[in-house]
């Protein structure tokens, strides 16, 4: 068969806009997800049962219900309660909350990897909870949190494609749109697959560069101590 890439080239502005939307959605929802993750993680590791249990329930709900169902619930069910959100807002909220649950588990793993002595020492110095969490514990968990955190961020970038089902004009939606009008499924879907692939490879390369810098910085004081 022959390939007809003119359909892609003629519609390049649609694809470009889709790519920009994908970048926008992941660019907002990943940082927000990390913030939610830190918050939920603090609740999850708290001593008080009243704070811990809601966090556990939230994390388990998010980890065991497919994202698509959550998106559909927010998009189709909330209007019955008078809350009408646009597709983009729905997507941003769902993705950040969904990613937040996964980030929370990653952060919890990091905090649990820190030895108990660090907590004891911080407490013995009379540091307040908020202060020692912020200045003693969290700076140490970077090395444990970074690799799995990158994975979750990458998953979130890929999951933005689900938003095409609620008419958000991101990359997959743009491809379906072009395919619907020109009927060139092979070319359009191959093109966006390659775009997604380049996006993720770029993202992984960038995070690797950051990772190397973090490793160097964390290695420095340890070397000085020796």
């Amino acid at each position: 068969m022959t390939f007809d890439y003119s359909a892609i080239w003629d519609n390049r502005d649609i694809l470009f806009e889709g790519l920009m939307n994908t970048l926008l959605i992941s660019g907002i929802s990943i940082p927000v997800g990390i913030l939610i993750g830190v918050f939920v993680c603090l609740l999850r590791i708290s001593r008080s049962r009243l704070l811990r249990w809601p966090a556990i329930v939230f994390i388990e709900l998010m980890r065991n219900i497919p994202l698509l169902i959550i998106i559909f619930m927010v998009f189709y069910a909330l209007p019955f309660y008078g809350i009408r959100l646009s597709g983009l807002t729905t997507g941003l909220i769902c993705l950040s909350v969904y990613g937040g649950a996964y980030f929370a588990e990653v952060f919890r793993g990091g905090v649990e990897a820190i030895s108990q002595g660090q907590f004891d020492a911080a407490k013995a110095l009379g540091l307040k909870y908020g202060f020692y969490m912020r200045r003693v514990i969290f700076p140490q968990i970077y090395q444990y949190v970074f690799p799995p955190g990158t994975n979750i961020a990458l998953t979130m970038i890929k999951e933005t494609s689900l938003l095409s089902m609620i008419t958000v004009a991101e990359l997959t939606y743009a491809a379906s749109d072009i395919n619907g009008r020109t009927f060139t499924p092979v070319e359009t879907f191959a093109t966006i697959a390659v775009i997604y692939w380049m996006l993720s490879t770029l993202f992984l390369k960038l995070t690797q560069m950051v990772q190397v810098r973090i490793d160097v910085e964390t290695a420095k004081p340890a070397a000085a101590l020796r």
């Binding site: 068969m1 388990e60 559909f72 890929k158 997959t172 879907f189 697959a193 993720s200």
Partner: protein, 220 residues
């Protein structure tokens, strides 16, 4: 708005079938995934550079593109490319299986790295052929050590199956979409679907954690 489950419950027959269908598709896709994952593991440990790099590129592609796009490619692009007309069922299972295969390969690789070197040396010293070493000695141990992780991978597969609703496969998500289009009660229907998914995934992942605990105890 008040929830009226009483109105929905009598009509949930298709959703029940959808749930069973989801599990059925999940099991088939998982089998394909394990098969693909094993082949990838063998390719990755191959002697030839070309086969090794094929496995690497495959893994990078699968992990770098959304599952939805892979499903769309399998469904819309495979038929015009190869001339083989596969239905949505085969396309969906293949797409999810090939997707899951890349992740299974990573899991197996983790398991393989825990096999002590002595196993290889002992097998070689006994004069076993290469294929026998893999099939009879290495792979059984690898699979045995990663069973809990494979169970977790199964929940991941179940969580991708809603995407099959885009290619007209009537699994749980599609069945509930049809039901709420009919009854116009998305709150109850989607809530029910979420509960069903939660029950399926949660019980499987708890089972996986139980296996993990048991295997840890067994090892100590």
């Amino acid at each position: 708005m008040e929830l009226q489950f009483a109105e929905i419950i009598p009509k949930t027959g298709p959703m029940l079938w959808g749930a069973l269908y989801t599990i059925f598709v999940g099991i088939l896709a998982c089998c394909v995934g394990i098969l693909v994952g094993t082949v990838l593991l063998l390719l990755r440990n191959s002697r030839w550079w070309l086969l090794r790099s094929i496995a690497t590129v495959y893994g990078s592609f699968i992990r770098g593109t959304p599952a939805l796009v892979q499903i769309l490619i399998f469904y819309y692009a495979l038929a015009p490319l190869t001339g083989v007309n596969i239905g949505p069922f085969t396309a969906g299972i293949m797409a999810i299986g090939f997707n899951s295969g890349a992740f299974v390969a990573e899991i197996l690789r983790g398991g393989l790295s825990r096999i002590p070197k002595g196993q290889w040396e002992a097998a070689e010293a006994l004069g076993l052929s290469k294929s026998k070493v893999w099939l009879k000695i290495i792979l059984p141990q690898v699979f045995n050590s990663v069973i809990p992780l494979l169970v977790n991978e199964f929940t991941m597969v179940i969580k991708i199956t809603p995407l099959l609703s885009t290619i007209t496969l009537v699994e749980l998500t599609r069945a509930s979409q049809m039901l709420y289009n009919e009854t116009f009660r998305p709150v109850e229907v989607l809530g029910l679907a979420a509960i069903v998914y939660f029950v399926i995934c949660f019980s499987i992942s708890q089972f996986g954690e139980y296996l993990q605990r048991r295997s840890l105890k067994y090892r100590v």
